[in-house]
C-alpha cells in the first residue's frame, strides 16, 4: 500500500509543530475527512509532534495520504532518536507524565485515531504511527 503523497517534516521547534499541524490539516482536507475528523487527526498530530520535540529531542514527522483501494486516509509517522519509552503501557496511561504535562497526549492521540501503534526501544528512539480513515 504505497502512499499517494508523502510529506517529510523536521520537528525541531515549537514553530515546526505548528507547521506540521497546518500540513496535516491541508492533507486531511485533500483526503476529504469531515471537519470533526480533520480536527481529530490535527490534534493527534499536535500531541505526537510535541512529544517528539519535548521528550524525543526532536525528530521527523511523515504525513502520508494513503489508499487501500476503497477508502483514502491519512497516516502519520513520528520518528525520533531520543531516549525511547521504557514502559509503553505506563506512558499511555491517562494522567501519566514525566514532564509536567497533563499526561493525556499519548492516550488521547490513540483515541483520536483509527489506528495507532508505538514502537520504541530504550536508548534508540520512538516511532509512533497513527492513521485516520475516511
Amino acid at each position: 500500500m504505497a502512499p499517494v503523497t508523502s510529506d517529510r517534516m523536521e520537528v525541531r521547534s515549537s514553530d515546526d509543530v505548528v507547521r506540521v499541524r497546518q500540513q496535516v490539516r491541508a492533507r486531511a482536507l485533500e483526503v476529504g475527512l469531515s471537519l470533526v475528523d480533520q480536527t481529530k487527526i490535527v490534534t493527534a498530530a499536535s500531541e505526537l509532534a510535541r512529544n517528539m520535540l519535548d521528550y524525543g529531542g526532536g525528530g521527523v514527522a511523515t504525513i502520508e495520504v494513503v489508499s487501500d483501494g476503497i477508502r483514502r486516509g491519512l497516516r502519520l509517522v513520528f520518528d525520533d532518536q531520543g531516549p525511547g519509552i521504557a514502559d509503553i503501557q505506563l506512558a499511555l496511561k491517562d494522567g501519566f507524565t514525566s514532564g509536567g504535562g497533563l499526561g493525556l497526549g499519548l492516550g488521547g492521540a490513540k483515541r483520536l485515531c483509527n489506528e495507532f501503534s508505538i514502537d520504541s526501544k530504550p536508548g534508540e528512539g520512538t516511532r509512533v504511527t497513527c492513521a485516520r480513515w475516511k
Binding site: 515549537s14 514553530d15 509543530v17 505548528v18 499541524r21 490539516r25 471537519l35 470533526v36 480533520q38 480536527t39 481529530k40 490535527v42 490534534t43 499536535s46 500531541e47 510535541r50 491517562d94 504535562g101 497533563l102 493525556l104 497526549g105 492516550g107 488521547g108 483515541r111 483520536l112
Partner: protein
Amino acid sequence: MIARPQSNLLAATLAEQGTTILSVWSDRLKKSGALASGRIREAELQTQCRTVLDLLTPAVKDGVDAAQPAFAPLRDFLADLSRSRAVQGFTPSETATFVFSLKQPLFEAVSGTKGADPTDVMRTTWDVTQLVDALGLQTIETFQKSREETIIRQQREIAELSTPVVKLWDGVLALPLIGTLDSQRTQVVMENLLESIVSESAEIAIIDITGVPTVDTLTAQHLLKTVSAARLMGADCIISGIRPQIAQTMVHLGVELNVVSKATLADAFALALKRVGRTVVAVKARELPAS
C-alpha cells in the same frame, strides 16, 4: 582568489569607460522596466548604479573574488540596497536583475577595448560573469533574509495586537484569543489578562477561543492554569466559543476544563451580566399603534 597582477583589463575598462558603462547599464534597467513599478525614481536608480560602479572600480584592482576585503564596501552597499528593496516591496527578481543586468554592459566594454588581447578578453569576460553572479546571489540572499526578518517582526506584532483584553462592562473582561496558543505568546496573553483582572478589579473574565484552530493538551493546560490563576485573583472565568468539533476532540483527549463554558461570546456576556447583577432588556416599543 583569482588575482590578475599581469594586466588588469577589467580595472582598466572600468576606469576608462565608466561613464559609458553607467549609461548603458541604466538604459538597460529602464528598458527592462525597473522604473515601471513606481517604487523607485529615475534619479535614485541612477545614483545607485553610479555608486555600484564607483565602489566596483577600486575593488577589482587586485582581483575579482567578491569575498575579498576589497569588495566589502560594495557588498555592504548592495546589502543595504536589497534590504531597502525588500522593505519597499520589490520582487526578488527585480532586485536580482538590478545586479545581473550589469553583466552585458561590462561584457561590451571589455570586448570593445581597442587592442586588447582576445585571450585576455575571454578570461576577463569569465571573471565578470563570476563576479557579477557572486554579487547577485549575495543580493538575493540579503533580500531573502530581510523578508524573513520582516515576517518574524510582523508575527510578533500580530501576536501582540491580536490579544487585547477588552472591558465589556464594569467588572467584566473579555479575552478573544486568535491563533495558535503554543508559543511564548500564550504566556504574554495570560499575564495580560491577569494584570487586567487586578487593575479593573474584574469579577468575571470571558476567554473566547472561537479563533483558536486547535485545542490540544498543551493549550488546555494553558487555559487551566489561567483559570486557576484568575480564581486566585478573585475572578471567575467563562470560556466561550468552543466549537462542536473542538468539544468532541477535547472529550477524546480526556481534557476537562472544569469551568463554565458557553457556545458564544454573546451567551457568555449575558451570563456575566447576570452574575454582576445586570440584565439587558429591549427598549420598550414607543407609541406602537394599537391593533
